[in-house]
Symmetry: C2
Subunit: 290 residues, 2 copies
Amino acid sequence: MEAAFTQKKLSELTFAIIGLGLIGGSYAKALRRLGVKHILGLDISRGIAKACLNAHMIDEIVESGSPALGKAEVIICCVYPGAILEFVRHNAAHFQPGTLFTDATGIKGRLPEQVQALVPAGCEFLAGHPMAGRQGSGLGMAAAEIFDGANYIIVPAAHNTPAAIVWLENFAKALGCKCTVKISAAEHDSIIAYTSDLPHILAVSLVNSASFTEHTKYFIAGSFKDATRVADINPDLWSDLFLANKENTLAEIRKYQEQLARWTRALEQDDAAALQAMMQEAGPKRRELY
Amino acid sequence: MEAAFTQKKLSELTFAIIGLGLIGGSYAKALRRLGVKHILGLDISRGIAKACLNAHMIDEIVESGSPALGKAEVIICCVYPGAILEFVRHNAAHFQPGTLFTDATGIKGRLPEQVQALVPAGCEFLAGHPMAGRQGSGLGMAAAEIFDGANYIIVPAAHNTPAAIVWLENFAKALGCKCTVKISAAEHDSIIAYTSDLPHILAVSLVNSASFTEHTKYFIAGSFKDATRVADINPDLWSDLFLANKENTLAEIRKYQEQLARWTRALEQDDAAALQAMMQEAGPKRRELY
């Protein structure tokens, strides 16, 4: 028997979004934009769930542990990394066979296998997430546009079916993403430490430098603004993410410190050629990215 | 006798722009937007000067060493930091008495006194610059909009007159700047090492990390994009700027490394509270800036 999600159009499918924060709320808005059949929403805060219902971002509130979750043919889990397994333990009994369960977590580790072991037979957990987000946190920052032009990362495990992978690829494109990438969980976490954990650490560190004063604001231009945009992030979520990817993140900080050491050496030695060489190396690499 | 620039409206004044790169070209476009009387342009490249004339950004090309520079009542020098004194030595003899000479250099050092000592009696050098710029380099990136909403830094020295300082403040506002700040050269260079030199170093370092690969582009989102925007900068200009502000910049790198060391300690000790404290410190500071 083929799973419902592979047989139906998006406009015929019922989705459930678990966790209605910045990312979950953005999925809700993007699903509404896509015109899916029905959107269930679950959040630990009753007030947040009501706010989503009132804003027509979701069609129905589902309580944790409620059998109503069984109506969903696709479930997207957007809770903190440390809360996914708890959600699954409390709710997986109500997943209907044929359900696709996916997540939006920026760190994968052993999650794919751990979750798959907890869902009922006939349900499939396929890990992934959009390379998207923005400063701030919570429902107030949610926007369908975070998907537009973003990359969508899919992290298949041994238990995943080609049908689910293809479906998620097409779904990501429908959400507005530019391209999809498949990668193993271990590679994913290592690369993300460089492309996401590290930039957030750099931004927070720049704002926290002992040189920051009340007068700083008069002396900043685009470079400082851009370098610190993601200094304002959700501390609870991100401490989870950093610790779950601890070894990779520590390695990235070390590699970054090697670059700062290159600058220190070149400056101490008045070595204009070495300074120019670093910029000549970086310019083309940056232009290639965008 | 009052200097011409303090007596006339902008629409009655003749300006000269020295160096028609990203910043000089942006001044030319902004002066045109302001409707000043006449814009002279000088560049070491004849092709660049011709391109500015053809684009109606300037009204007249001036050669280095030409008496035609004497027509200017306000001269704005936008050459590399290392080239200002050379320009002054070759051209100051033609400055007319009453000329206001200003610059756009991101590093000041002893420049105010050095330049003032070289200009004819009755001319005044007042150092300053907009806190503005953008990625890339050269005339092709010039835009009047770089001034819009920017801060304008004025660096008065003992020889400067209140009339010149007030004029430059009003001129900066007319260019589109949001506010002006007055500061000594030594303080300026120290603060700029933090708010400008350091962010550029951080961006170049992130792109140059050993972790950068051809696959990086699939795993980046806003945080990496913003953190690396100014990794693509003019190596010749910036090696000048970094070396001219060497001690301050080295001090900023050291302070920044202390922040990275905080991250390393917190991660190694699985100290979620310490990680959260760093983010809780940074968030409000960042929000205050913008």
